[in-house]
Symmetry: C2
Subunit: 439 residues, 2 copies
């Protein structure tokens, strides 16, 4: 088998065989196939597409390209969730302890943020001492002992995906549904997930701008997971505006803690309850049939009772974090400058552009433009109004948390265009647009 | 300007601007754009194509990527020819001295052979001492002093084309008309040609198998050349069977010398006369109108008078070659083993597969599969029958010239399938299928 022949077949729109896809991915992973051949193949796949069978094969080839996590001796069911990335998305910080508090153990690997999309691991590093890099043995032992672990992703998990993802970024082959879907699912499969709840964001601050394409991506991922024996549900959730109020690492941890105490923004709470309930329902599917409504009320109870927060304490402590900081979030990293922007007009919020809010957080130093850049955990912003809210002139719209005057000034200018007023009443945005299950 | 944006535009089928193409080629030549980005771009260009304007821009960008030869102070008109490559194609060895003998000076750079397609430079190296690498100063001085020079190609002529060509070879983006046409024409433009006669081979032993695609390629190259002010004619010539009888380096030089003495195979003589006549006619177009018939008879006269051979002697001597070898071609490298394959049946030749004959020559060591491999100048084969000829059982079909018994045995087996007999009379193949001029 020769790489150039496989490239030529995809170039001509042919369906590749399982053997061809396995050969290509294995040889690319071990460096036998160089980047330039993979780049030509990616472009051909981008333009001609991959059918369902090819996409599943690509997913499995990438999942098998490195180590595969197997926690079946520790967890009865391995439950995972994935967010396609959004602004203010601190869902994992809440949902993981919440699900664990409901008696379903969770052992998850998460990523770092890039661009306007934040990363769970960055947020957790706001907590002094929290160790994100665990050895495989540490990861397993913590899962066994505490029923909850939340670490950074092992470098050897689906390494083919890592290489291809980096290459796609510089060869204009990122926004291609089969490539996106196989990239996400290969990591979930390599991480050993039996159950996956996919949180596919759609809107101004999401990778997917339109419900139609988000829906296609969600359906494709559900199909892939189902094909390989996973239980998968995909939710299409709104990312036209930030999730909750807080954007920025320590600020989001603080908001997550509020939520874990039964408080916090109502949209965030609703979002987390739905994600958690789906995880619970699927995790228990093999035991007996739980209705969504039961799972929802169980999860709500665990938030309100403090059990979810208690599980978060267990997590932070187990991974070496300073628990006193989550007991008193005012001791988390604090910005030096706090400035509030007030409304100049009265009216209603028609749009609160999540992309602009995300960019503002990057401006302040809360995110990174390129991999490997350092971030400032203290900075970020809070929004005080969401779409559908009424505004009275003089009310606060944003609170900015900054450590640098120049960055603050730039951010203030950017925020001028972030909130669109309406003179007439506007409707709030829904939390979810659709739920996609295996057919 | 960013490479990834240019890739994305071509990926989406957009027409690239001149600035984008110049940026991409310049940055790829200097290494700022890596191979993997160029590979993705090539695949997008392969699939979506390049329009006429883009193709001309790509050609000029590649032509301008290195030094550009300017012989306008030495030659009244710079006349070039190009063959798309075939088996037994020793045309340049004959046509260049022939045109020079007609009073039109020629200064040409040629390539080495690859695969079944031989290279003029390899053939010339059959002659002891012939120096194929000339400095720019030597090249110019010889053109000025003798009106004839035939050297290897300068490494810094259209270096972007050299890089892209190597990359196309391993990314399944070779057989794409705009990329092929711009590759060929960029070198002709960089070499300073005012007049170009393109010899586009079509048939079993050619890169182009079908007249339709060869015709498209020819038309595209004529259009490119015309767009940048060249006088260009393209000939579609047969490559279903070898040109002439001899295939292999010293064997082809010997046959070329026969032709330069007014003899040699009739198809080779006709081919060379037509190519030379077009070169003469276009070279003189600005002075007065010469008819093709006049150019043809003038060229035939120079072959028959010995003037063309005399010019070949001047060329060989000027470039340090041993003239005694061309005066007595039996002193050129000779193979140790000579074996003749005779006809087993009587009948007519229906097919003499040029690709198989070319492969046989490679088997014997006359050609190379990969760049940089060494070749044996002595070996090769002669065909004794061409399509349309009648055969009597026992007559010689092929004479093989070998230096290795194992290679000889393999070649004999291959030749079993090379000649197809017919019981009924067959028509000879035409020398040319079409002549394409600027419209």
């Amino acid at each position: 088998m020769r790489a150039v022949d496989i490239i030529a077949r995809k170039r001509d729109g042919a369906e590749l065989t399982t053997e061809e896809i396995n050969f290509f991915i294995t040889a690319y992973t071990d460096g036998t196939i160089p980047d330039y051949q993979a780049a030509a193949w990616l472009m051909a796949a981008y333009i001609h597409g991959l059918n369902h069978r090819e996409t599943v094969d690509l997913t499995m080839a990438m999942a098998n390209s490195g180590e595969r996590l197997d926690l079946s001796d520790i967890l009865p069911v391995s439950v995972d969730k994935h967010s396609s990335g959004g602004v203010g998305d601190k869902t994992s910080l809440i949902v993981l302890p919440l699900v664990a508090a409901c008696g379903v153990p969770v052992a998850k690997m998460s990523g770092r943020g890039l661009g306007y999309s934040g990363g769970t691991i960055d947020k957790l590093e706001s907590i002094r001492g929290y160790k994100v890099e665990l050895s495989p043995a540490e990861f397993r032992e913590q899962a066994r002992q505490y029923g909850i672990v939340l670490s950074g992703q092992s470098a050897n998990l689906a390494p083919a995906d890592g290489k291809l993802y980096a290459l796609r970024d510089v060869t204009a082959t990122v926004d291609c549904l089969p490539l996106i879907a196989s990239s996400i699912m290969s990591k979930k499969i390599a991480a050993g997930a039996d159950v996956v709840v996919l949180d596919v964001k759609v809107g101004l601050g999401a990778f997917m701008r339109h419900i139609e394409e988000a829906s296609q991506l969600a359906r494709l991922m559900v199909e892939i997971g189902t094909s390989v024996g996973q239980q998968v549900v995909a939710l299409l959730s709104d990312m036209n505006q930030p999730l909750g109020y807080a954007v920025g690492n320590a600020l989001e941890v603080t908001e997550a803690i509020e939520c874990l105490h039964g408080g916090g923004p109502i949209d965030l709470r609703e979002h987390c309850l739905v994600v958690a309930a789906h995880m619970l329902r699927l995790a228990r599917k093999n035991q007996s049939d739980y209705a969504m409504s039961e799972c929802l009320s169980e999860a709500a109870h665990q938030l309100d009772s403090g059990a979810a927060f208690e599980k978060f304490r267990v997590l932070v402590k187990a991974q070496g974090g300073d628990v006193s900081q989550i007991d008193d979030p005012t001791t988390l990293p604090q910005a030096r400058i706090i400035e509030t922007i007030n409304a100049r007009h009265s009216g209603y919020v028609e749009q609160l552009n999540a992309l602009q809010v995300g960019a503002a957080a990057i401006d302040l130093g809360a995110g990174r433009e390129r991999k490997g850049e350092s971030i400032d955990h203290a900075v970020g912003l809070s929004v005080h109004k969401k779409v559908g809210d009424s505004i009275t002139a003089g009310e606060p719209l944003f609170t900015l948390y900054a450590n640098d005057e120049a960055k603050l000034a730039r951010t203030i200018r950017r925020l001028d265009y972030t909130l669109v007023y309406s003179a007439v009443e506007t409707a709030p945005l829904p939390a979810f647009y659709d739920t996609i299950t295996a057919t």
